[in-house]
């Protein structure tokens, strides 16, 4: 900031002017000192008065000289730039008590930080907008003219259609059975039993998969009152990992216009877990890594990897 402030200032003249001020101060001090000291001891009164007056005149002349010098130098120094970078808050920099209240430096840091943040946020939003991450078909920011017109939404499908799609998918795979429940209104909750390996509870919102939780085959899926337990995690780390991967999968398989294709792809992916304990990892060749079997299934090739061997 100093550069901006002193752009019109001649630094040489500035230091000379400071020296001139010091010289002026000392000559003024000399004047008052000599007045305070009074007349020196001489033989005659006229002699004393004469010496005193000459001394006084010399001192005053040196003061005059120094003052002229200072005036000359001050014209050379120039003015500091008028435009404060932060307008009035730039005047805070003139506060001399820097260590007690470092207001100006903190203010500058805050501004720099917020400018950087804005820049990074702009970059991030341009990158993120390249991938369309909207899971439903509703568009945001439709113009007022279009809003009254009803848009075909895949969010409000008739329950019979959902039932049909699910039962068709259930028949596709012989080792996977899908049971459909509707414990809370129109949202379907599926209980998918995969062979004797796992049970997955899939909570849907019309034909979109909302949430999934995977537990072992022998774990209890029902609550005390015979309802499906859709919240408690599995007791086993392997199935907790599979739950995390399944959540990643349902975010990966997205096609807002054709939700039944999405459900089919998800079920095909889930079916690859039938050999969860039998397949070694494709990368390291072992069955176990930190006590866990290969829980990751590649989204395209359905190959098995350990969570840590993924990349």
């Amino acid at each position: 900031m100093a550069d901006v402030m002193n752009v019109g200032v001649n630094l040489e003249a500035f230091s000379q002017a400071i020296n001139a001020i010091q010289a002026l101060r000392s000559s003024v001090t000399r004047v008052f000192d000599s007045l305070k000291d009074g007349m020196k001891n001489k033989e005659t009164l006229e002699g004393r008065e004469k010496v005193f007056i000459t001394e006084f005149q010399d001192n005053l002349q040196s003061v005059n000289r120094d003052l002229n010098e200072l005036e000359r130098l001050s014209t050379l120094v120039g003015r500091p730039s008028e435009s404060h970078p932060l307008h009035n808050s730039g005047l805070l920099s003139l506060d001399p008590v820097q260590d007690k209240t470092p207001l100006y430096s903190q203010l500058l840091q805050a501004y720099k930080w917020s400018n950087k943040l804005q820049y990074h946020a702009g970059l991030a939003s341009s990158l993120l907008n390249q991938q369309s991450l909207k899971r439903s078909a509703n568009q945001m920011g439709t113009s007022a003219k279009r809003r009254p017109k009803v848009q075909p939404s895949t969010l409000a499908l008739p329950t019979q259609y959902v039932d049909d799609v699910i039962s068709r998918i259930g028949r596709m795979f012989p080792d996977m059975s899908i049971e459909l429940f509707r414990p809370n209104g129109t949202s379907a909750v599926l209980l998918v039993t995969l062979g004797k390996v796992l049970k997955a509870i899939v909570v849907m919102r019309s034909l979109f998969i909302d949430r999934t939780i995977v537990r072992g085959y022998h774990e209890n899926v029902y609550l005390e009152d015979k309802k499906l337990d859709i919240w408690s995690k599995s007791n086993y780390q392997a199935f907790q990992k599979v739950t995390d991967h399944a959540t990643t999968a349902l975010l990966h398989y997205q096609l807002p216009q054709m939700p039944d294709v999405v459900v089919r792809s998800f079920m095909t992916w889930l079916r690859s877990y039938i050999k969860l304990f039998q397949t070694p990892c494709q990368r390291c060749g072992k069955y176990l890594q930190e006590g866990l079997p290969p829980t990751w299934r590649d989204f395209r090739t359905l190959e098995a990897f350990h969570d840590t061997c993924r990349q």
């Binding site: 004797k196 390996v197 050999k275 069955y287 006590g291």
Partner: protein, 212 residues
């Protein structure tokens, strides 16, 4: 309730039972297993009395497992078995006339229980009348219930701390009528322990292995 495999680990050359157990425990702890208390499995033998003609009397084994403390398992060697609640012991006392307790034949295995990710490992000292006769290791993979599915996985885990002492697929699974791909139950574990205890009973007393 997962797939269990019970095996016997021979005592290391020139070491005592306790030292071998300590070695195994240290290996497990190096792997990252956490100690989770103790376990015990015991087995009592009963002779069936009142048999007609000189048929060898069948032996009934009544076993308990700290994993299922409220249960009691009773099985014949190689034959059918049942799981009952703890009052079964009292019933056996009442059936004294039909089944006689062979008091000197009680075998038990006591030791520590470790947990590693989804595995439960129990390392115990097998003792008969207060003398240590051998070492039993039980590995349970809790996440799976089908032995055929996870056998390779369990073998890999057992190799990491048992080395060359890793057992083969237990006969309890291969002898099942439904095959390797039927779900396990508690009887499979108990019959494996029974096999181990019978082997230990037939062994000679190990030199210098008295546990006071």
């Amino acid at each position: 309730m997962g797939v269990t495999c019970v095996c016997q680990v021979p005592v290391a050359e020139g070491k005592s039972v306790q030292q071998t157990v300590d070695m195994l425990q240290k290996k497990l702890e190096q792997l990252g297993a956490i100690k989770q208390g103790n376990f015990w499995v015991d087995c009592e033998t009963y002779h069936a009395t009142g048999n007609a003609t000189g048929q060898p009397s069948k032996l009934l084994y009544v076993m308990h497992n700290s994993e299922t403390p409220l249960s009691c398992m009773a099985l014949f060697e190689g034959g059918p078995g049942l799981a009952a609640d703890a009052n079964f012991d009292v019933l056996m006392v009442k059936l004294k006339s039909h089944f006689q307790n062979a008091k000197g034949h009680k075998v038990e295995s006591r030791g520590t229980r470790y947990r590693y990710c989804d595995f439960l490992v129990k390392i115990g000292t097998v003792a008969m009348s207060s003398s240590a006769r051998g070492i039993s290791v039980e590995v349970e993979y809790c996440a799976c219930v089908i032995p055929g599915d996870c056998w390779n996985l369990m073998k890999e885990f057992m190799q990491s701390f048992l080395g060359s002492n890793t057992p083969e697929l237990p006969a309890a699974f291969t002898n099942k009528a439904e095959g390797l791909y039927s779900p396990v139950d508690c009887m499979d574990t108990m019959s494996q322990y029974l096999e181990l205890f019978s082997k230990v009973r037939k062994q000679q007393v190990l030199p210098g292995s008295g546990v006071r």
